[in-house]
């Protein structure tokens, strides 16, 4: 057995070479250590961003100003978005990539381990800087995560700190993406052809290309904001011949692919989990790869659907409306293939599978409301209302966040060598699924009724659904506390996990012992093992 040879080759020899104490983490170059740090960092940011969300929902529990002043409320909406998108979801994907990509392609580590260390350690500095903006005179940035000028240019002393923090986040993402692409293209084991790669690896490869194309665009946009603010340039200042709408085009040229950056790795995760618990190969492997690639391509040509109300020629409106609707085709292919994979499978419903099925239903709701927003005349009504907030959060929370939770439950036995408490995992799932709907579904009604987003106070007719939404938020927030407890309990007292923790699991990572030794695949797996792991 391959894992026996791995155990002999690594478990008894190199495994003891790992550094100990703080040096292990500060100078980490091992992909598993760096992956762990990314995941812990992501969890921390998730809870900080979550506290900000609780402040927002507490303020919105009833009309009138309750707890915070409007400026601080706006800071909270801005910081919540930045912390959740750049601090929680993206680092979680990078952490999962670090842990899983080398294991899944039969590589001993990431191709550029020191760059890997650097790209992680940028993040704590970036987010400390961003968090500190709350304590400078004038408060943190309050213009929303889109940072539109001229509003963003009115930010006081927090302005350069926020811009520098965004630059650092972007640099970290670009370096991480370079590492992922170079690793996948150069470090695959013999026999691991591109069309044998697990779909998680495929989804990350495509995501990394997206990141390299669009993160520099965001960096360019905020650099120009910086020079407009401090060096009297007028890129986005109408009085000097600049164009604030140009900023919106540039931002959304980054921002729309960014949404796909957040969700494409989720498609990869779901494509790993559903076949495992359906005990069937994924239906239409190649179609799944092409669908992810098509979605990534289309994400570059739809950006102005965020700007219909800004005003644009009719031809532009039609182009962006129709190109946005086109995305439903490859997305539909994926949803169909996941459903077809489950069809007549020997399904079991462990926690990762429950989260994956929940993803399937709830992400589809987010997709449908996205289609509604793509229709120009409808968008004129929905724009900047809570309908958009509901749509976006249905995509990101039961989409990206549930997939991350599913991935952690799925691979936790491989990482720790222990099984988590299934009963607690299922409790976590049911609480999360019920409360996420209580939280976000009423926001569709609020938006359709005309409640604007990013306001600390609202007209009294919106009170009831806001109360329901806030109760959902508190329930969802509290139920997430279970998650670190489940992981802690798993590490401390979980039952030992076998090498193949899930009966139906396929892939090279399951050929290794559990927990995966500190060094793995220093000797690449043979083509026969690769072929066995790549049966899809």
């Amino acid at each position: 057995m391959a894992h026996d040879s791995q155990a002999v080759a690594h478990g008894d020899t190199h495994d003891e070479h790992k550094p100990h104490g703080w040096r292990r983490w500060i100078f980490a170059t091992n992909h598993k250590d760096i992956g762990t740090m990314y995941l812990i960092f992501s969890g921390l940011m998730f809870f900080i961003g979550g506290v900000m969300a609780m402040i927002i929902r507490a303020e919105l529990f009833k009309p009138g100003l309750q707890f915070v002043d409007p400026q601080f409320f706006n800071s909270m909406t801005t910081m919540h978005a930045l912390f959740m998108l750049f601090g929680a979801v993206m680092p979680a994907w990078t952490g999962l990539a670090n842990w899983q990509i080398p294991l899944q392609i039969g590589a001993p580590d990431m191709a550029l381990p020191r760059l890997n260390n650097f790209s992680f350690w940028i993040l704590p500095f970036a987010f400390t800087l961003l968090f500190c903006t709350l304590f400078v005179p004038g408060g943190g940035p309050a213009s929303g995560w889109t940072m539109y000028p001229p509003l963003m240019l009115q930010t006081s002393e927090a302005f350069p700190m926020s811009i520098f923090a965004v630059h650092l986040m972007g640099a970290s993402s670009i370096l991480g993406s370079i590492n992922v692409i170079v690793t996948i293209m150069n470090m695959r084991a013999p026999g691991m052809t591109l069309l044998r790669m697990p779909l998680f690896v495929w989804s990350w490869l495509i995501t990394a290309y997206l990141l390299i194309a669009v993160m520099p665009v965001l960096a360019g946009a905020v650099t120009m904001l910086l020079t407009d603010h401090f060096f009297q340039t007028t890129f986005f200042t109408a009085a000097g011949g600049g164009d604030p709408v140009m900023y919106q085009h540039i931002f959304w040229f980054f921002g729309h692919p960014e949404v796909y950056i957040l969700i494409l790795p989720a498609f990869g995760i779901i494509s790993e989990i559903i076949p495992t618990f359906a005990r069937k190969p994924i239906f239409g492997y190649e179609a799944m790869v092409y669908a992810i690639a098509s979605i990534a391509f289309l994400s570059f040509i739809v950006w102005a659907h965020h700007m219909f109300t800004v005003g644009m020629p009719l031809a532009g409106q039609l182009f962006f409306m129709l190109s946005t609707m086109l995305i439903a085709i490859p997305t539909g292919v994926k949803v169909f293939n996941w459903s077809a994979t489950m069809w007549k499978g020997s399904l079991t419903f462990e926690t990762p599978m429950l989260f994956a099925i929940s993803f399937l239903f709830l992400f589809t709701i987010g997709g449908f409301s996205g289609l509604m927003l793509a229709i120009v005349p409808a968008d004129y009504q929905y724009h900047d209302t809570y309908f958009v907030v509901a749509h976006f959060h249905y995509v990101i929370v039961p989409g990206a966040v549930f997939s991350i939770l599913a991935a952690v439950y799925y691979w936790l036995p491989k990482w720790t060598g222990k099984m988590y408490d299934e009963r607690l995992g299922k409790t976590h799932f049911w609480l999360s699924t019920i409360f996420v709907n209580v939280l976000f579904f009423p926001q569709h009604f609020l938006g359709l009724a005309g409640m604007p987003r990013r306001i600390p106070d609202y007209a009294t007719q919106f009170t009831d659904w806001n109360m329901v939404s806030s109760i959902g938020a508190f329930g969802f927030g509290l139920s997430q506390i279970l998650f670190p407890y489940i992981i802690w309990k798993c590490v401390k007292s979980g039952e030992p996990a076998p090498a193949r923790a899930w009966e139906g699991a396929k892939g090279l990572e399951w050929e290794l012992p559990s927990p995966a030794p500190h060094h793995t695949w220093e000797v690449p797996p043979s083509p026969e093992v690769v072929a066995r792991g790549a049966e899809h």
Binding site: L115, V182, P216, M224, F236, G241, P525
Partner: protein, 45 residues
């Protein structure tokens, strides 16, 4: 059951990895400066 990779192939792979990383960094830099130049040109209209 494992496959040995010859040393010269590992060296070649290392070179390819470095080349690819530099190329990707240049692509990122091109997007960064390209969009700044694009915006500058537009603001000249």
């Amino acid at each position: 059951m494992s496959a040995q990779v010859p040393a010269d192939e590992i060296e070649e792979r290392r070179r390819r990895a470095k080349r690819a990383a530099v190329l990707l960094a240049l692509v990122a830099a091109a997007f960064y400066f390209g969009f700044i130049i694009l915006t500058y040109l537009r603001s000249q209209h």
